[in-house]
C-alpha cells in the first residue's frame, strides 16, 4: 500500500524544495559545470590569457603514463581501504553487540576515531610510523626489518592505507552495530535451538540480513577512499616516494592548487566525476539486485 500526499497548489512543493535545490545548485551543479568548462581551456595561473583547446587537456592527460600510475594506485588504495575498514568495522560491531559489562563505554570509545580530523590522525600515524622518531617505526627498524616509508613505496602505501582505513572503521562500526541490533533476536534464537553454531549463524543469518547495510557502506567507503583521503595522504607522504601514493584526487589537487594548472586539474575532476557516476550506476544496477532488503 502506498500513501500519496497531493498538494493542491502548484507553487508550494517547489517553494518547499527551493532551499535544498538552491544549495545543490550553488554548491554542486555550479562548480561541476565550471569544472567541465575549465577542462576545455588553457589558462595561466591568473586567468589573464585564456584559450579554448577542445579536448587537448584530456588527450594529454590520458596519454600521460604517470596518470595511469595514479589510476592504478587509486584502485589498490580504494580496494584495500574499503576491505580493511569494512572488515574491522564488522568485527568490532559484532564484538560490541555482545552483552557485556560496560558496553556503552566500550562502544563510545570505538566511535572516537571518527571525530578526529584527518590531518590530526595523520600526525598521530607519523608519530607511530616515522622511521627515526616513530614508536613502531623505530621498533621495526630495531628488529632489522628496514622500515623506511619515506623511500619505500610499498611501505608508504601500507601506511596511508592503514591511516585512511582506521579513520573509517568507527563509522562502519556504528552502521553495522545499528544493523545488527535491528535483526530480530528470535531468528537467531530459533537457529540456535535448531543447533546452528555461532559461526554458522553469523554467515547464514546475520551476514545476509546485514546486506543492505553492507551495500550502503561499500558505496560510502569507496567514495571516501577515492575522494576524502586527501588530508591523510598530504600529511603523511605528499603522494611520494616517487609517485607511489599519488591517487587521482591527490593529483588533481597538486595540479590545480600547487602547480596552478587549472585546465589540467579540471580535466582530471571531470574524469573523476565520470568514474564515480559509472561506479555508482554499476553498483546500483548489479550489486543491489543481490541485496536483501
Amino acid at each position: 500500500m502506498e500513501r500519496k500526499t497531493v498538494f493542491p497548489q502548484r507553487l508550494l512543493p517547489y517553494l518547499l524544495l527551493a532551499p535544498q535545490l538552491l544549495i545543490t545548485a550553488v554548491f554542486f551543479f555550479w562548480p561541476a559545470a565550471q569544472a567541465v568548462w575549465f577542462s576545455f581551456l588553457r589558462q595561466d595561473a591568473f586567468g589573464i590569457r585564456t584559450s579554448f583547446v577542445g579536448f587537448e587537456n584530456f588527450t594529454e592527460l590520458l596519454a600521460d603514463p604517470t596518470y595511469h600510475e595514479a589510476l592504478r594506485n587509486t584502485a589498490v588504495f580504494a580496494t584495500a581501504v574499503s576491505l580493511l575498514s569494512l572488515g574491522l568495522g564488522l568485527l568490532f560491531a559484532v564484538l560490541a553487540d555482545r552483552r557485556i559489562r560496560g558496553a556503552g563505554l566500550y562502544r563510545t570509545l570505538l566511535i572516537w576515531p571518527y571525530a578526529v580530523a584527518p590531518a590530526v590522525a595523520a600526525v598521530l600515524w607519523i608519530f607511530l610510523f616515522h622511521p627515526q622518531v616513530g614508536l613502531i617505526g623505530r621498533w621495526l627498524n630495531g628488529l632489522g626489518l628496514g622500515w623506511d616509508y619515506k623511500l619505500n613505496g610499498g611501505q608508504a602505501m601500507l601506511v596511508v592505507i592503514l591511516a585512511a582505513a582506521w579513520k573509517q572503521v568507527a563509522y562502519n562500526m556504528i552502521f553495522f552495530l545499528a544493523g545488527l541490533q535491528s535483526i530480530p533476536p528470535s531468528v537467531l534464537e530459533a537457529a540456535a535451538i535448531d543447533g546452528a553454531r555461532p559461526w554458522q549463524r553469523f554467515w547464514t543469518i546475520t551476514f545476509p540480513l546485514l546486506s543492505p547495510t553492507t551495500f550502503f557502506l561499500i558505496v560510502v567507503n569507496l567514495v571516501y577512499a577515492c575522494f576524502d583521503t586527501f588530508g591523510v595522504i598530504d600529511a603523511l607522504t605528499k603522494g611520494g616516494p616517487a609517485k607511489a601514493t599519488e591517487t587521482l584526487i591527490y593529483r588533481a589537487y597538486v595540479d590545480g592548487r600547487v602547480n596552478l594548472d587549472l585546465g589540467m586539474s579540471s580535466a582530471q575532476s571531470v574524469v573523476l566525476m565520470v568514474v564515480v557516476i559509472l561506479l555508482t550506476m554499476v553498483q546500483f544496477r548489479y550489486v543491489e539486485r543481490r541485496v536483501h532488503y
Partner: protein, 443 residues
C-alpha cells in the same frame, strides 16, 4: 558605513577633533603572509612599528596558511576582483608572478610613482639578483631570505675522532668525515638533507657556476630548457647515490621533512635552510656549527655565491585601486628597506639580512662572534658577484619541476633507476612543464 558618514558629517561641521580626522584619513593596506608562530608575531610587530611611525597608512597583516595556500589564495582573490595589496610569495613562485603582467605592479614602478628612490645596490647580491629583471630593477620587494647551509654535530665529530675546528669545506671532506662517523657509530646516520632539490641541485649549480637551465636559468626568456643531463649533475647525482650506497646518506623525505633529523641527533651532518637556526638552537642537545655548503674542488677552485630561498612581497594591482593605496604600499616598502629595521628582523628571525648595511652593522656590533655561524649563509650569498648561473632561477612551474626532480631522485635512491635515467627523466618531464608554462603565458 554609518560611522564613517557620521564622521564625515561632523568633520564638515568643523566639530571633529584633529585626531579623529586623521584616523578617518588613514588608508588601509592588506598584507597576506605565510608566517606562523614566532615569525608571524615578528611580522605583527614589524607592521605595528610601521603603523605607529606615520599617520597616513595602516597595514593589516593576515596569515593565510602555508606558502602554497597564500599564493593560491591571492591568485583566486585577484581573479575574483578583490586581491590584497601585498602578498608574500615564496621564491619558486617568482616566475609565475612575473608572468602575471597586469596582475602585479613591479616594485620599481610602484616606488617611482610614489617618488621614492631605492637603490637596489643596498641589497646583498644574491637577494637583489633573484627579484630583479634583466635591467637590474626590483620587481618584488625582498622580505625573508635564507640560504642553505651545512650543520655539523660537533659532539659526533669529536666522538668520531674528527677535528671540531678544521671543518669540512668540500664534498670530498664531507665524505671522509661521513665514513669516520659511520665507522665509529658516532651518530645513527652520517648525512641527511632537507629540501633535496634546492640543496643538492639548485644550490650546487649556482655555487659551481653551472647552468641549471638555458637562457640564464630562465631570466632571459620563457623558452629556456633544463640542463640536468649535463656532466656536472651526473657527477653530483652519482656522488649522492654513492653516499647512499655506502650507508652514509639517509634520505629523510621531501621539502622540509628531514629538517628534524639533525637537531634530534639522528644525523651528524645535515643540510637545511639557514632559517632553521632557531630550531637547532632550541632542540639540539649537543655542540653544533653551521658552515657554508660544500663544493667539488675538482670542478671549481673558489665557489660562487649560493642562491636564496624564502619569499618576497608582491604588490598586486586591482581595478579602481586608488592612488593613495599604492602610495601606502610604497611607503611601507620604504620602511622595510631601512637598514635598522632590517637588522632587527635578521636577528629576530634568523633570516639573512637583506641589506649590506644591516650585515655590516651586525658584524661591527659583534653579533656573529656571539652567534657563531649565523653568518654562514650571508658569506655564501655575498662571497662572489653573481654570474648568470648564480643569480637565481626564473622557471615557470618551478614548484612542479622541484617535485619532479624529487620524485626521480627518490626512484634512483630506491634503486628503481640509475642516476643517469633519473636525470634524463627529470629533464624531460621538467621541460614539458616549462613548455606548458610558456604555452599558457604567451600572447
Amino acid at each position: 558605513m554609518q560611522r564613517r558618514s557620521l564622521l564625515a558629517g561632523s568633520a564638515a561641521l568643523g566639530l571633529a577633533a584633529p585626531g579623529l580626522a586623521r584616523a578617518q584619513a588613514r588608508t588601509e593596506i592588506q598584507l597576506w603572509h605565510a608566517m606562523t608562530g614566532a615569525l608571524g608575531e615578528t611580522i605583527g610587530e614589524e607592521v605595528k612599528r610601521f603603523n605607529d611611525s606615520q599617520g597616513r597608512t595602516t597595514v593589516v597583516p593576515s596569515f593565510k596558511g602555508g606558502y602554497v595556500d597564500t599564493m593560491t589564495g591571492a591568485i583566486a582573490a585577484w581573479r575574483a576582483g578583490s586581491p590584497p595589496h601585498i602578498v608574500q610569495v615564496f621564491e619558486v613562485g617568482t616566475a609565475t608572478m612575473m608572468a602575471a603582467g597586469p596582475a602585479i605592479k613591479p616594485v620599481h614602478t610602484l616606488l617611482g610613482e610614489a617618488g621614492i628612490t631605492l637603490d637596489p645596490k643596498r641589497y646583498l647580491a644574491g637577494v637583489r639578483g633573484y627579484y630583479s629583471d634583466t635591467q637590474g630593477r626590483l620587481i618584488s620587494m625582498p622580505f625573508n631570505s635564507s640560504s642553505a647551509v651545512m650543520w655539523l654535530n660537533l659532539d659526533a665529530f669529536e666522538k668520531a675522532g674528527l677535528s671540531t675546528t678544521a671543518l669540512p669545506k668540500t664534498w670530498r671532506e664531507v665524505r671522509a668525515a661521513a665514513e669516520k662517523i659511520k665507522a665509529t657509530g658516532a651518530a645513527p646516520a652520517a648525512v641527511t638533507t632537507a629540501w633535496p632539490t634546492w640543496v643538492l641541485f639548485e644550490q650546487m649549480a649556482a655555487i659551481h657556476d653551472i647552468p641549471f637551465a638555458t637562457k640564464a636559468n630562465g631570466f632571459e626568456g620563457m623558452d629556456c630548457e633544463l640542463q640536468l643531463t649535463q656532466p656536472f649533475f651526473q657527477k653530483q647525482m652519482d656522488f649522492v647515490l654513492g653516499l647512499q650506497k655506502d650507508g652514509l646518506f639517509k634520505y629523510g623525505g621531501r621539502d622540509n621533512a628531514a629538517e628534524g633529523l639533525f637537531p634530534a641527533g639522528e644525523a651528524a651532518i645535515g643540510f637545511n635552510s639557514s632559517a632553521g637556526r632557531a630550531r637547532v638552537a632550541r632542540e639540539a642537545k649537543f655542540k653544533w656549527a653551521s658552515v657554508p655548503l660544500p663544493y667539488h674542488d675538482d670542478v671549481i677552485a673558489s665557489p660562487k655565491n649560493g642562491v636564496i630561498g624564502g619569499a618576497s612581497l608582491w604588490p598586486l594591482s586591482a581595478k579602481n585601486r586608488p592612488v593613495e593605496e599604492y602610495r601606502g604600499v610604497a611607503e611601507f616598502f620604504r620602511f622595510l628597506s631601512e637598514p635598522a629595521l632590517d637588522q632587527w628582523w635578521h636577528q629576530q628571525t634568523g633570516y639573512v639580512p637583506l641589506t649590506l648595511a644591516a650585515y655590516e652593522k651586525s658584524k661591527a656590533e659583534g653579533y656573529y662572534t656571539q652567534n657563531a655561524g649565523a653568518d654562514a649563509a650571508i658569506i655564501q650569498l655575498s662571497r662572489a658577484e653573481p654570474t648568470p648561473n648564480s643569480m637565481g632561477f626564473r622557471l615557470g612551474g618551478f614548484v612542479e619541476i622541484r617535485n619532479i626532480i624529487q620524485e626521480e631522485l627518490e626512484k634512483a635512491l630506491q634503486g628503481q633507476q640509475t642516476g643517469a635515467q633519473a636525470l634524463e627523466n627529470a629533464n624531460r618531464r621538467g621541460n614539458v612543464v616549462l613548455r606548458n608554462f610558456e604555452r599558457a603565458n604567451k600572447g
